[in-house]
């Protein structure tokens, strides 16, 4: 005898208990601490902070632990937490020219004030598995030098001084906040940059890559890529001046792109911009390419129908928390709708068979 399925609540509780057990894994292996994740999986932590839109390495590390290393799940945990936090105010714009850089490279100039600083990069490593790590070998100490006190001015500022790059004057507009207002399209560049910096790294990477392969065209030079700590300052109304409230690590990428100009307007290079929490250079570079690609209208370029030129397409599909939720919701029960389709298809089939029989 058929009995309607009951007991969803007990099934859910049991499933979650099993999940917790699976997360912990083999009890014979030491438990991973949040501090270990924060310190040793820092690039994963950075990605979770960037796409979770919350700069807190401890919470990001906790989310990664809770999510069993599923970074999109961890990003979702951070987002759901972040949305409950009160807004105390907005900081002053961070001054990335004053960044304490750990890495700073330019692909457009061989040498420049502040120098080329490789920093802790995977670049030029040979991608050979290091079996010493499996044997728990400790690393040797890297060589150190006294910190250079030299200023590290932006490459773009140097190009700007000569008028070689489009000017980007400081604006006083308060940028829209896509976490507090529904996204309305077409959006401003500030809104697009917000959406892209918290967008899925894989999606933004592929969009950027597609422009390099000819779907749209960004012929970008990395004018400058810099990673380091910047001070966050906030105006305190009672004080009447800005005070430093903390420090965050950022990756900034500025690309120099094909020039525009005419007989009357002197040609100038154009900009693409990327700024992402933490050491996240793949994302920052990709972001600057996608930013540049989406600026086609403003720069008087042709729309070629390329996905990376299509603001609505990019902005509506960049968010992995939205994407994964909607994608995975199709595993929820749909039997009411499926039933209505079953009835429809059965009826249509019956009509076709009836017509065939009548014809015979």
């Amino acid at each position: 005898m058929y009995v309607a399925v009951k007991g969803g609540e007990r099934a859910i509780d049991n499933a979650h208990a099993w999940l917790a057990e699976e997360r912990r894994g083999d009890l014979g292996v030491a438990e991973l601490s949040v501090a270990q994740i924060r310190a040793q999986l820092s690039l994963a932590v950075n990605r979770v902070m960037a796409e979770g839109s919350l700069y807190d390495p401890d919470l990001a590390a906790l989310a990664i632990k809770q999510a069993r290393g599923d970074l999109i799940e961890a990003i979702f945990l951070i987002r759901a937490y972040r949305t409950t936090l009160p807004r105390l105010g907005a900081s002053c714009p961070v001054d990335t020219a004053e960044m304490a850089v750990i890495r700073r490279i330019s692909a457009t100039f061989k040498d420049l004030p502040g120098g080329q600083v490789l920093g802790p990069t995977f670049d030029y490593t040979h991608r050979l598995l290091d079996f010493k790590l499996a044997a728990e070998g400790e690393v040797s100490q890297a060589a150190t030098a006294p910190a250079a006190m030299e200023a590290v001015p932006h490459v773009m500022a140097m190009l700007d001084r000569d008028g070689m790059i489009e000017a980007e004057p400081l604006g006083n507009d308060v940028p829209a906040d896509l976490t507090r207002e529904p996204m309305e399209l077409p959006g401003s560049r500030a809104l697009r940059l917000q959406a892209i910096t918290r967008g899925d790294e894989g999606f933004i990477l592929s969009m950027a890559y597609s422009t390099q392969r000819g779907y749209g065209r960004t012929h970008a030079f990395v004018g400058e890529l810099r990673i380091g700590a910047v001070a966050v300052e906030m105006e305190i109304p009672e004080l009447g001046f800005a005070v430093e409230i903390g420090e965050i690590e950022l990756t900034e990428c500025e690309t120099v792109n094909q020039f525009k100009g005419s007989k009357t307007e002197p040609p100038q290079f154009t900009r693409g911009y990327g700024l992402v929490f933490g050491q996240t250079e793949r994302k920052a570079i990709a972001m600057s390419l996608v930013d540049r690609s989406l600026r086609w209208a403003e720069l008087g370029e042709d729309y070629t129908g390329a996905p990376a030129q299509d603001e609505e397409f990019v902005l509506m599909h960049a968010d992995n928390v939205q994407a994964t939720g909607f994608l995975e919701h199709i595993k929820l029960p749909h039997y009411v709708d499926f039933q209505s389709e079953l009835e429809l298809v059965r009826r249509l089939r019956a009509e076709v068979f009836a017509t065939q029989e009548a014809a015979e």
């Binding site: 058929y2 529904p182 749909h334």
Partner: protein, 292 residues
């Protein structure tokens, strides 16, 4: 963090206020999709975050909440959402449609007629009825503004040309008070007639798509059709095998691997109430009132 660290019904009051303003605008312009600043919720987008936000903004401590998914109170996601509000709002919950002051639903309208004062909150995946005809939001908003609904009629006509009938069986588009074409969420078209002139307030929440829309009580709602191909609500041509109901929407349950199947009410509260009242379907067993 303890549950006490969250506000009543999870959302903070400012957010609720923002959502209530969107709801009021929706009520004032029936069928119009009001953009709202949807929040990330502690359940995934696509799993009812729009409905949950609308419910959270409407709930008061005196409310009695019912949550259904596919018409049933005991489907996993319904259980999960009900538990969320029990935990964050501590409101009374019920499975009885008549006892509920607020019902959150996915994919069904309860069989029992709703009454004045009740609120029915729908979870909506894609609020835009024109979305699969025109993927761009910038375009579809313009089409609504200009009441440019030719495309959807062409789609329905093409169905008839190809299949001899309108081949949309759920999320069947409706026109509200002669103005906005609206997606009723993926309810089977069997439920469409219940949208119109309902004494209850019907609210629709789409979290991921950041839209809220509404049908105030006694709003006139018409399912799109043609004079020579009138709208027909449809259901499986059977009676419920448990309670014998002939007028309720049915789920098909496969009971063996030899093609055996039975049909049962999708609305579990409706079915149980009938069984308890002594109605018996072909495969039902008599239920003792108050029994398991």
């Amino acid at each position: 963090m303890t549950d006490q660290a969250y506000n009543f019904a999870y959302l903070d009051e400012q957010t609720k206020r923002m959502i209530r303003r969107a709801i009021l605008k929706g009520v004032a312009v029936p069928g119009y999709q009001v953009p709202f600043a949807s929040r990330e919720m502690p359940m995934p987008y696509g799993w009812g975050t729009g409905g949950v936000q609308v419910t959270a903004a409407c709930l008061t401590p005196d409310d009695t909440l019912k949550v259904i998914d596919q018409g049933a109170d005991d489907t996993t996601n319904a259980v999960s959402i009900r538990k969320f509000f029990q935990r964050t709002a501590g409101v009374a919950v019920t499975e009885a449609t008549a006892e509920a002051t607020l019902i959150q639903t996915r994919h069904r309208i309860p069989e029992a007629a709703l009454t004045t004062g009740q609120i029915l909150v729908y979870q909506v995946p894609i609020p835009e009825p024109l979305r699969f005809l025109e993927p761009r939001e910038t375009e579809t908003r313009k089409m609504h503004e200009l009441e440019e609904y030719g495309l959807i009629h062409v789609k329905l006509y093409e169905d008839i040309a190809r299949h001899g009938t309108i081949a949309t069986s759920y999320a069947y588009p409706v026109k509200v008070e002669g103005r906005y074409v609206m997606d009723p969420s993926p309810i089977p078209k069997f439920d469409n007639p219940k949208l119109s002139n309902s004494p209850a307030l019907q609210l629709f929440g789409a979290g991921r798509e950041q839209r809220i829309y509404a049908l105030p009580p006694f709003t006139h709602v018409v399912s799109l059709d043609f004079d020579d191909h009138p709208f027909e609500p449809s259901k499986a041509p059977h009676d419920c095998d448990l309670c014998g109901a002939g007028e309720s929407y049915l789920d098909e349950v496969i009971i063996d691997d030899l093609g055996g199947r039975m049909f049962v009410c999708s609305d579990t509260d409706f079915c149980r109430t009938r069984c308890e009242a002594g109605h018996l379907g072909a495969l039902g067993v008599p239920v003792l009132k108050g029994g398991a």
